[in-house]
Symmetry: C5
Subunit: 296 residues, 5 copies
């Protein structure tokens, strides 16, 4: 995730890092060249087709509504993902506290809390499909080959609780409390997996990208008469705005990627480590900081 303050005048004009210019730049330039060619053609050929501005307005409004919908849907996915991970952080903190309250044996406590830390990292690795993550290997090597690593850790924690319960080291209240907490963690985990596994319907992508390109390709025909040689310039602006928005929504709708707009899962996992270190008596690590405005 890019972490920058409100853009200053200079950034507005020149910032590239965190901008979508690198992604849409070539396409916008191609559109401008095409528009220039259309203006040239228009000057050469008499009877060059000319589109009525008003009819085009309706097309523009429909396209705005499409992009607006997709933008809302993508942002909602991104923000829901962030909420799920925020809720997970809260649940992990509460889990450690409840372990302290309800598990009288320090050994039981330490084991389940350490496993919970492994869960966070394995969940992150699972969502991002990282092939080999040092921290995940360090904390949960034994689970990496399980069919579903994050589930396997939670199953293990549960098995330890069941063991403690049968050995009388966990009473009914504690079992109920910790089971509820695990249930809540399971829900947040399944929510994040839902977002990863269910992209925005492909048919929308197709419909929206096709409509956007059609719009940009037809725009010169509508502008060539009133705007003349300014046409490529306007097509460039409209292309930047519409293709840019399409690109942004594409990124935001995959919130667990490592793109500039991906969520900072590493930083959240580190925050969990900081919170749990106290309960484990471990040294407290430093919070992760953004590098070159990017927080991973």
């Amino acid at each position: 995730m890019i972490l920058r303050d409100k853009p200053s005048w200079r950034e507005l004009a020149f910032a590239v890092r965190g901008s979508i210019i690198t992604a849409v730049g070539p396409k916008v330039i191609a559109l401008m060249i095409y528009a220039g060619f259309m203006v040239w053609l228009h000057d050469q050929i008499t009877g060059f087709p000319d589109i009525d501005g008003v009819a085009f307005t309706v097309f523009g409004i429909a396209l705005s509504l499409f992009l607006g919908f997709r933008n809302n849907a993508a942002y909602d996915r991104w923000w829901e993902s962030r909420k799920l991970w925020g809720g997970l952080l809260a649940d992990v903190r509460s889990f450690a506290r409840e372990a302290e309250l309800f598990l009288p044996e320090p050994v039981d406590r330490e084991r389940v809390i350490r496993l919970m830390l492994a869960f966070m990292h394995l969940h992150r690795v699972h969502l991002r499909q990282v092939v080999d993550d040092p921290r995940a290997r360090e904390l949960g090597a034994e689970f990496l080959t399980a069919p579903h690593p994050p589930c396997a850790v939670l199953d293990r924690i549960n098995a330890l609780l069941a063991q403690a319960r049968q050995a009388g080291r966990l009473d009914g209240f504690g079992a109920k409390a910790l089971a509820e907490r695990l249930g809540s963690i399971t829900l947040q985990q399944a929510g994040a997996e839902r977002i990863v596994k269910t992209p925005l319907p492909y048919v929308y992508s197709l419909l929206i990208y096709r409509t956007t390109y059609l719009y940009c390709l037809l725009l010169p025909l509508a502008l060539v008469t009133p705007a003349g040689w300014l046409t490529p310039f306007f097509v460039g602006i409209v292309g930047y705005v519409f293709l840019g928005l399409a690109e942004v929504t594409e990124e935001l709708s995959h919130p667990f990627g490592t793109t500039p707009n991906g969520l900072p899962l590493d930083a959240i996992c580190r925050a969990a480590e900081i919170s749990l270190a106290v309960h484990l008596g471990d040294p407290v690590p430093e919070p992760l900081r953004a590098k070159d405005f990017y927080l991973s």
Copy 2:
């Protein structure tokens, strides 16, 4: 559900699988032929009616708002359905864990977990109205003739719990925890049934389809003067966008169908099987993969 990455240039131009072209193609072509006929008529008849562009703009805006509303409502149904099944998966995992924690007898445990698996398949079959599903028959043959099969399985699980409770094999905390979990599963099940049984109000479909067709049929009258023989082309684009959106929303508003945008219930049931296999000591099946980009 169609699972494809962000469309590439080539897919944008040619992709048919997952597109709505097959559904709206014939109608769009019919509209274009009609538009061509109108242009021809316009050239033949003097005094051919001519619609003012501005008045038409308002019609277009109203239609955009209608389609926008329907699109939001349909997408919300689709996404809520996905949330319900995601929640169900989480609940089933938690149910298995809580069974392990609170049911000390392995026999009790296995029976209820296996029944929960049957529930998932029967619920899926019930929502999709599949007549004969091998996996559902295999796991829950005895429930297939019940008035409401998924409810019947949950009733059976509940009866087993009541039995265990009275025999002293399940304490109060466990009964409370498992009853809460069943309650949550019941809620997600009723939510999915609500979506299946309550389509979007029919009056909207009628109002929106009628308005969309009226718009497309009148559009040539507004375009014929400014656009001439380009009219069929523009009518084709507008028809593709508006009828396409109407078609997409029709599909999304029935999220449990087996259309290209239907939810992958088979895959979610398989995910549940994978998660529960560990608790049952069964061999872990493979996750379901998309075939030809389609995940059932």
Copy 3:
């Protein structure tokens, strides 16, 4: 509720059942006659006022936003109501299961489950203000004269539970579980009553209906010059769309009525009877089916 599939070509053109034509037809025809009169006047009188199209566009956009807002608000009321009744169905099923789990005496069980059935019907009758309903009378005759019949049934169930608790036939866990369930049912009931008792603010109805009529009455002045004798036709379409939407939202915002878009409370009550019949050992009734596409 009207239950029909996606409208076919023929239905699109001719369907009347479930359409709003019966409600807005006369008004639309009146508008068209008025528009024709305006065109005639325009031809007679020189200096007939003529409205600029662009200024009118803004009016149309504002009106679209108004109607869009009202449409969203009305649909939300309708869908929230459906959710509340779906949740109620789930709660009633869970209540029966929890009664089986926590109430060891079959007599207690049967009494509270049968009362819960009476609750469903009395709640329905209360929301719809049905004066005399045979099924409600059959199941809950004694409560019909209470100040608030559905509350009275829930109070009775609660009193029975309190009695069982004091007689030692219901332990603390069961009392807690069943009290939570009753609390959830109470919340859903109060939610439905809130929707019935609090219509959309009257001031909106007034503002929106007045604006819609003003728009339709002024529209001929804007169209008469560009559209001539096609004006009545366009006014008819716009009137159909805008008055139609106003009518639809009026119906949807009263979701418990017995209008074509009212919720099928009878069918949901029947679904509850089917689910509870098993627990009561009663014969299972048939699910209610739509008659002439209408499910009551």
Copy 4:
């Protein structure tokens, strides 16, 4: 709250009660006079400035979006407030039932239920900042001088429960159940206080009112050429729509006021009295009815 049915033709034309005409009438008339003066000036002065319609359309769209946002935000506040009070009513009913279930001593029961009634009235009085309310004084005179009366009643109820718990007249299950209920009531109470204490950001009011007036003051310059002496009439309509909406949203965003759109807190408190009367053995009061369409 104004309670009226769908407006009839006659009401549409003439209804004043519940309309916003009284609030915006003078301003609209002032605007019309000003517009008339502009038309007169335009006829006198050559070179009178003339605004282009298209540029003005964008202004109108922006303004519509602003007002649309404010309208949504205000309506959401109003509806959330209604939900909070509906939830409160449900909670109060459940509280009485749980008191019956878990508090075996009738004396304890009666005391806490009667205090809960006092809470409803004190909460209402607190939200509306009523200086002296007879019913609140009658039920909760001793709390009126507390720093925060509704909180003080809940504290008292809690103290009574703590007392009963220590005296062994309330077991752990009951204490847990009633504490959860009080927690839920506390949440709904804090929600209502949040809405009262946090108005919509002032900066919006300023921005929106300023923009609306600017729009209305500039509108004659855009209309004077195309519309001539019809200008005051159109300015009147636009002023009615936009100022009316601004006024409506102002009222709705303060849902606990006693304006025509304020919520009927008196009626909800009465509904609570009706529900609790049974548990207290008191005579059941009549539900409050609307007077002259107004329910307080």
Copy 5:
């Protein structure tokens, strides 16, 4: 937070406090000077580029949709933050009540309630990144150097509860109830930290600010022909509306700042002190009042 009533006529015209004029004033004036220069250039140079109004309308609509989205997202962040702090206030009140109900020893009770007060202030200081706050130092000096002060207080409360539990001064019901309350507080705390740590995606800021400025810089080219020397005036209005909205959303999206639209965290902490004073037997402080319309 600025607390003012509905703006009066005079405030509408002249209010500066709470307005965004101070923030956008210089930019608007710069835009107006630039627009004047363009008009002058247009008069000097023949063949000065001239933009078609209709093409520009689409740009304006797209921009309105962008700003509308950003406005909604920012307002949602602001309102969600307010909800989280409202929920926190409710939770703190409930925590104190539950402590009274479940912790029989007054010493335990006082310690945890006093720590909860420290939590509120440390949480506030943490969110606002205040370096040295007298009240936070007074109540929770020992936690100020912890890696995460608010978490450290909650850990301490939890440790005290664990101690009381093991010493038999807190039973299972109480441990469960207080652990649930702490879990809810942890969730609200993590929610607020999520909002602080995750700003709106930077790419939106860039895209929206760049588009807004481009729009304002190109606007004179579209207006110069129809509006002439009125152009700077219109550019000023449009700049005020669009830049003003961009500025407002910037402020609202950082709800924990001390800007005029920041949330009144000091006042909410004071409200918590008032509510808890009764439980601690402390003198009740005065509620915080707005100074010069500003509540901190």
